[in-house]
Symmetry: C5
Subunit: 96 residues, 5 copies
């Protein structure tokens, strides 16, 4: 799974009918400093996350399980709202 | 899912027979400024999208569900035509 | 799916028996200018493509469907020979 | 599979219920010099790994098998604790 | 599939039990000049490949088929030992 921040929404009137009723959230992947890294993607919200929140998202078949829509075109889903990230920075550059 | 713009089409007379009747669209991934980012790919249209339109596309097994051709060589599909993208820019560089 | 050019072949006498009889083609991904982009990969030919031809290839489970060998180690396959790519260049840098 | 180091944990109270009871570990991919490379991800621990340890992790459907939760939103899992990595450096730049 | 060179091994005593008996090979992806490109990964050997050999490896579900362990955490496997790579270099920069 990956860390991201919800930064927007997408409206698409003409879409696969299996997306009807889903919330399509623009999700920006984050690095450990919570800074944007890489390109934003569109993930289906499954946990009631809101704009600005830091979330955990998943990709591929895992996203269809998250949305309980296995036979759908979903390939990314938000599966958790992050309360806290504890990083032990001493280990990041440890070469042992 | 990902944001892209349809910028062309591909014609292939000799191809997997399960692609017959599909529209193969050259799709350019976009960043949040709607500028090209990364390399274009070839996606099957499932929503009647046209050249120049901004779309949502999906990859992998999700694309075969989108095309309702689970047992096919499709690994990318256009699944929505974007009406609007709302980005809350204040949050993009938020480090809280 | 992705655009590529067949630039070579791989010979491997000792290999997974499910690859026996397949043609292993070195395939170079291409950008919209038909220039090499990223690293070449090894794809199974399913359409009778030849050296130098521009092709469409697919990855992952889709490649096993293409090869009609679902239970095999194949993760990339050539699924079409490109006759023509029509790009509407005015749209590539459109920001609307 | 990939080499990484566990550098932290993520707490998410509101999450997909199938993640309840899992340990969500912030995992930093490593190169052959055990230096950080690429962005950290969040992997479910399945082997009792601790902060600072070098591990093997897997992605995609393989991660759901690792966690014995095939129908879950998991797409990354820690599957081994590394005792030793033997690299034969003479071969790295061998062009034969 | 991808071209790589086996450059080492990984020992992990504590690991997913479905990896017991497998050989975990550190595999360095190669470009067409047989030079290292991108980061090394850990692949299960299924063909008796040795240190220093150039191999074909596969990723994702294909790797579990290669290892004949579909319900396992394996996501990368070595599936062939390369005897020869024939590259037709005139085609690499062909723009026709």
């Amino acid at each position: 799974m990956y860390l991201g921040r919800i930064i927007g929404t997408v409206v698409a009137t003409r879409k696969d009918e299996r997306l009807t009723g889903t919330k399509l959230m623009v999700t920006q992947p984050l690095n450990l400093e919570k800074a944007p890294v890489g390109e934003a993607l569109v993930a289906v919200d499954t946990v009631g996350a809101g704009i600005g929140e830091i979330v955990i998202f998943t990709k591929g078949t895992a996203a269809r399980y998250a949305a309980d829509k296995l036979q759908s075109p979903i390939d990314a889903a938000i599966i958790g709202i992050v309360d806290n990230i504890d990083i032990y920075r001493d280990f990041i550059n440890d070469k042992s």
